[in-house]
């Protein structure tokens, strides 16, 4: 009986897409934390993330010892410097490196998305308003770019242009631009005959002015939601590229690179140099996914 009622009165959109509000708050928290860490991360670390210390391959303090250590640090009692996440094979402090690496990873991801969002939305606007020939050409080009295998193409671009943070940003921006072109164009096509656009046209505004001033701001919402998904993907990709040796160069603190450095130790049972950077990636990307999902639901209402 209840199923029949449900069939007659289809559940509203909110029920159809479950999203515990707690999850959205968690997402907001993680996103905010990642952005703050991107700015201040390397300044607040207890050890220099680039200078090895005397302790090599030291395990993190055991769970039983944690409360006493935390008490000592909080009270400002005299204590030996604590390696919260242990140290790696060269004596670098894992905690400091994980925190400092958030600048590398998050900044690359945010930068790549800012560039591709800027280019993609302008090109999408062009594709939605320009003459059919130009628009068609633009869409075919972005089709072609999307046919490339993403990861391998990123690897080729970064390696051959010289491995550095800047080339990763540019390569990712190139790979993500077609996504934004497509999204913005679809939205522009939906917006271009709305009432306020026709009103502006009746006032005698030029097409360019209408496109930039009236259509673009109203067509950006899907692209902005997409950006928070893609930032997460870009973090995964940056870490992945570094993991296979086609990303940032070794002394740089970077999560994927740290996991790669610790991977042989992991097989031998020394888990901490790889575990903690992975937890950082896992939580950050999950946070961006929750955030974007909540945004999407909020905007769909």
């Amino acid at each position: 009986m209840s199923e029949m009622l449900e069939a007659l009165h289809p559940p509203p959109a909110q029920v159809a897409r479950p999203m515990p509000p707690a999850l959205f708050l968690l997402g907001c928290g993680i996103v905010a934390l990642s952005l703050v860490m991107m700015v201040v991360g390397p300044w607040i670390v207890p050890f220099d993330p680039g200078r090895p210390g005397p302790d090599i391959g030291m395990a993190p303090p055991s769970l039983g010892a944690l409360p006493a250590l935390a008490w000592a640090v909080l009270r400002g009692l005299p204590h030996a410097p604590v390696h919260w996440f242990g140290t790696d094979e060269t004596g670098l402090d894992v905690f400091s490196r994980v925190v400092a690496a958030s600048r590398t990873d998050v900044a690359i991801a945010v930068g790549a998305n800012a560039v591709s969002l800027a280019f993609g939305s302008l090109l999408g606007l062009a594709a939605g308003t320009a003459r059919p020939f130009l628009a068609g050409l633009l869409m075919r080009v972005s089709d072609l770019l999307q046919a490339f295998p993403v990861f391998i193409t990123g690897m080729i671009l970064v390696t051959m242009a010289g491995r550095s943070e800047l080339t990763i940003v540019l390569a990712l921006a190139l790979l993500y631009t077609p996504i934004y072109i497509r999204l913005t164009r679809a939205e522009v096509l939906a917006q271009r005959h709305r009432g306020f656009v026709d009103a502006a046209r009746a006032l005698g505004r030029t097409e360019l002015w209408i496109a930039l001033r009236h259509i673009l701001p109203n067509a950006l919402t899907p692209a902005l939601i997409q950006a928070s998904v893609t930032i997460g993907l870009a973090i995964l990709m940056t870490a992945g590229l570094s993991f296979v040796g086609a990303g940032v160069r070794p002394p740089t603190p970077e999560w994927g690179l740290m996991i790669a450095d610790g991977s042989n130790l992991m097989v031998q049972g020394e888990w901490w140099p790889s575990l903690f950077p992975g937890v950082a990636i896992s939580f950050t990307v999950f946070g961006y996914a929750c955030f974007s999902n909540g945004l999407e639901r909020y905007c769909a209402r």
Binding site: A147, I156, L157
Partner: protein
């Protein structure tokens, strides 16, 4: 029929465009493959003779014509690093990747369909919420890290899994190559020990991939299922007095058809990113071959790998799209 021909023609055009773009892009990059091959301290003569041997002293247009005429005859040239024909090396590494990914996709699909259905039948219920959080989490995870974590737990601590050093135990003799898929070849050779060993080595990589893949697939199945359950034909089926179980089956058939297209797109993406999981488990698939070629600036190998992977992705996408169109005749008009 016309629909198939048009799609096929478009895919071929895309591949040609892709080939040209790869060819020019890698040559426009500021990377110097000759210096990488002969070393930094090589004399000027050694550099020039090596450049001549690779054909890189010719104008780009001449190189393009030579390459296109070779590729048209099915010859992708020899690797600059190993000297072996590129096609032979791809023929050796590609089946490893295809085997891993296809098994993972099938298993992930089998796991995800019941879960997605469960969610769609009671939207907003506890099961739906839990599965939703799981799929959001699984879909946003670094698979290479999970692979390492599984190695730590199941190999280093528990000792259930074999060492992550390839497809077969180094003590075993690999079966004669027929298909290149270890599981199939060992069965064809009737070698049960090697078969069990091969499956054992696939256990962790497949588990990792299934975990990561199940996220997006569950989401996909659920969305399509919710849409199907809200449709008029399901209302009609209910009104006709079918059991809830039968109604669900009716809806499932219609929900899975559009999911196929998305699955095709996902397959191509995963094939291109297979290098991560291959590196963790040293499987020696086409992803690792791609990394090796890219890091060595091995032009013929890079061109071939990108083309082969793009061609397979387009092919899988096309086939699943055609199956979709066959299941839903409205699409082919």
């Amino acid at each position: 029929m016309l629909f198939v021909a048009r799609r096929l023609g478009f895919a071929c055009l895309q591949l040609v465009g892709l080939a040209l773009l790869v060819f020019f892009t890698i040559r426009a990059m500021p990377a110097d493959p000759v210096a990488r091959l002969v070393g930094m301290n090589a004399s000027r003569e050694a550099y020039l003779s090596s450049q001549h041997a690779l054909g890189l002293d010719r104008p780009v247009w001449v190189q393009l014509v030579a390459w296109v005429s070779d590729v048209a005859h099915g010859d992708f040239g020899r690797s600059w690093v190993s000297g072996a024909p590129v096609m032979q090396e791809i023929g050796r590494t590609l089946p490893v990747t295809i085997e891993l990914i296809t098994i993972s996709f099938v298993l992930a699909f089998l796991v995800s369909v019941p879960l997605g259905m469960l969610c769609a039948l009671r939207p907003g219920g506890t099961a739906d919420k839990a599965t939703f959080v799981y799929s959001l989490f699984a879909g946003s995870q670094p698979e290479f890290w999970w692979g390492l974590l599984f190695i730590y737990i199941f190999f280093a601590v528990l000792g259930w899994a074999p060492a992550p050093l390839g497809r077969l135990d180094p003590m075993l003799r690999p079966p004669p190559v027929v298909t290149g898929f270890i599981t199939v070849d060992t069965l064809l050779a009737g070698d049960w020990v090697a078969f069990r060993n091969g499956v054992h080595h696939l256990m962790l990589p497949v588990a990792t991939k299934v975990f990561v893949l199940s996220g997006p697939i569950i989401k996909m199945v659920r969305q399509n299922m919710v849409r199907a359950l809200g449709s008029d034909y399901v209302l009609y089926a209910r009104a006709s007095g079918l059991m809830p179980r039968q109604v669900a089956m009716v809806a499932l058939k219609n929900a899975l058809a559009p999911a196929l297209t998305l699955l095709g797109a996902l397959y191509g993406y995963v094939l291109g990113a297979a290098v991560l999981i291959e590196t963790v488990f040293s499987l020696g698939g086409i992803g690792q071959y791609a990394v090796r070629s890219v890091l060595a600036f091995d032009y013929p190998a890079i061109e071939a790998v990108v083309l082969v992977i793009a061609a397979i992705s387009l092919f899988v996408y096309l086939v699943l799209d055609l199956v979709h169109a066959w299941l839903d005749p409205r699409l082919s008009q």
